[in-house]
């Protein structure tokens, strides 16, 4: 009988303690209540929840708060895509503008053996570390991909890999959060529309002769693509061919005439 009383006693004491603490917490919750828009919770639930930071905010919570505060449009969640944008817009009572799907793109074709190197690099496998040598890494071109994979490690979606010394983006997996851009010490990675099939695989702003000297796959600014393009969609700016994505129809004519074979729609498109 004594034993049973002991058990009852213990249960009672702990129960009372729990109730008292619970009461205190409830009371504290009232005192420390922070007025929060209930829509923040709803928007947060509608987001993809990858916390990738692709929207430009610290995380999904921060983005949800910004949307409700009216500081951010509802269509910035890349992993969630159009479906999420619609849901968020519905909560906020806005019209969802269909967002163009973007992907990251590494505009460099200077793989191993194609781009000339200053020296054999045998240091840590890290682009930032390699950049410490001559401020551009082992490859002579200062616009080239170093190829030691800082972007690959930064990618949370497994959408990047190194192919022959140059980073390549898997367009199907990429959500354009641009974490790779932040990780890239040379900042050469660009955001391009997913639909864009023709891309220039070089960003070298060196003059033609210089580019020719240091890379077998660099844009030398010969203007051939600019002259041949039937839609006036490609122009050479700063000694590098640049495509106007609004005008480009993806006919691929520039790719055929490019003497350096760096505008190569299939190669980029296949993957």
């Amino acid at each position: 009988m004594d034993g049973i009383m002991n058990i009852v006693y213990a249960i009672l004491v702990l129960g009372i303690m729990g109730a008292v603490f619970g009461g205190l917490l409830a009371f504290a919750a009232k005192i420390f209540h922070v007025e929060q828009d209930p829509r923040i919770e709803e928007v947060r639930a509608a987001l993809a929840g990858a916390n990738c930071g692709g929207c430009g905010f610290a995380g999904c919570d921060a983005y949800a708060a910004a949307v409700v505060a009216g500081e951010a449009p509802p269509n910035k969640c890349s992993p969630g895509g159009a479906a999420t944008a619609e849901k968020v817009a519905a909560i906020m009572g806005l019209d969802a503008e269909p967002e163009v799907k973007y992907v990251a793109f590494v505009p460099c074709s200077g793989g191993t053996g194609v781009a000339k190197e200053f020296f054999d690099y045998e240091g840590p496998k890290d682009c930032v570390a390699a950049m410490r040598f001559g401020n551009k890494g082992p490859k002579q071109c200062q616009f080239s991909c170093i190829g030691l994979g800082n972007c690959v490690r930064a990618c949370q979606f497994g959408a990047m890999h190194i192919e022959n010394g140059v980073a390549v983006v898997d367009r199907e997996k990429c959500v354009a959060c641009m974490a790779c851009y932040d990780a890239c010490p040379k900042k050469i990675i660009r955001k391009v529309p997913y639909e864009q099939r023709v891309l220039v695989g070089c960003r070298s702003e060196d003059k033609g002769a210089q580019t020719r000297k240091i890379c077998d796959a660099g844009c030398i600014g010969c203007m051939k693509c600019q002259k041949e393009c039937p839609h006036e969609a490609i122009k050479v700016v700063n000694f590098v061919a640049t495509i106007d994505y609004d005008k480009c129809t993806g006919c691929g004519h520039c790719a055929e005439v490019c003497p350096r074979h760096i505008i190569h729609p299939q190669k980029i498109y296949e993957q």
């Binding site: 702990l14 729990g18 603490f21 917490l25 420390f32 922070v34 840590p124």
Partner: protein
């Protein structure tokens, strides 16, 4: 009085460091130590909760002893810590929102930090009085802070270290933690008081 407090403080920070010689709180030690900033935030939050938990659990323990229910102490302490962390979270959200956002997910995770439960149980085991308990709680937290910040700084530098690839990630972190613990063993020969 002052002597015993000083002994407890130095002991908790260096000689009997919670992580390096008692192996308590290893989860956040490994989980939140990739950046120095977050390590610092985590350490401060843990110090705060440990100090407060020591104080309140001292009172709760007195109550349990009076009711002859000492065997319930673990359960009661867990209850107190859970409530405390919840309370701290609410308090920070209202009063110091900037710190609340900086700590983020780590704040609720302190509930399951075994260093916090460890410190209150050790207080009972060592028969500390109220002041000693609080000092032990706060300095134990400071020891945790020192350990996690040191570890985070080392891990920061490891990024450029050229270790074998198979050690990448957790293995090299554990090797580092082991070496740090070895370094802290140097204090174990010290005897105060």
């Amino acid at each position: 009085m002052f002597d015993s407090v000083l002994t407890i403080a130095l002991g908790a920070i260096l000689i009997n460091n919670f992580i390096f010689s008692q192996f308590l709180g290893c989860c956040p030690f490994l989980g939140c130590s990739t950046k120095i900033d977050t390590a610092l935030g985590m350490g401060l939050a843990v110090t705060f909760v440990m100090g407060l938990a020591s104080a309140i659990c001292y009172a709760v323990n007195m109550l349990l002893i009076a009711l002859e229910l000492e065997y319930m102490s673990t359960l009661a302490f867990i209850l107190v810590i859970a409530v405390l962390v919840q309370f701290v979270e609410m308090f920070l959200k209202k009063s110091v929102p900037s710190l609340y956002t900086a700590l983020g997910i780590f704040l609720p995770l302190i509930t399951t930090n075994c260093a916090v439960l460890g410190v209150v149980l050790l207080n009972v085991q060592n028969n500390y009085n109220f002041i000693e308990s609080v000092v032990y709680g706060i300095t134990g937290g400071l020891g945790f802070l020192v350990a996690i910040v040191l570890f985070a700084s080392v891990r920061d530098r490891l990024q450029f270290a050229d270790y074998p690839e198979s050690f990448d990630g957790f293995p090299i972190a554990l090797v580092t933690a082991g070496l740090l613990a070895l370094a802290f063993m140097g204090f174990s020969g010290m005897k105060i008081g």
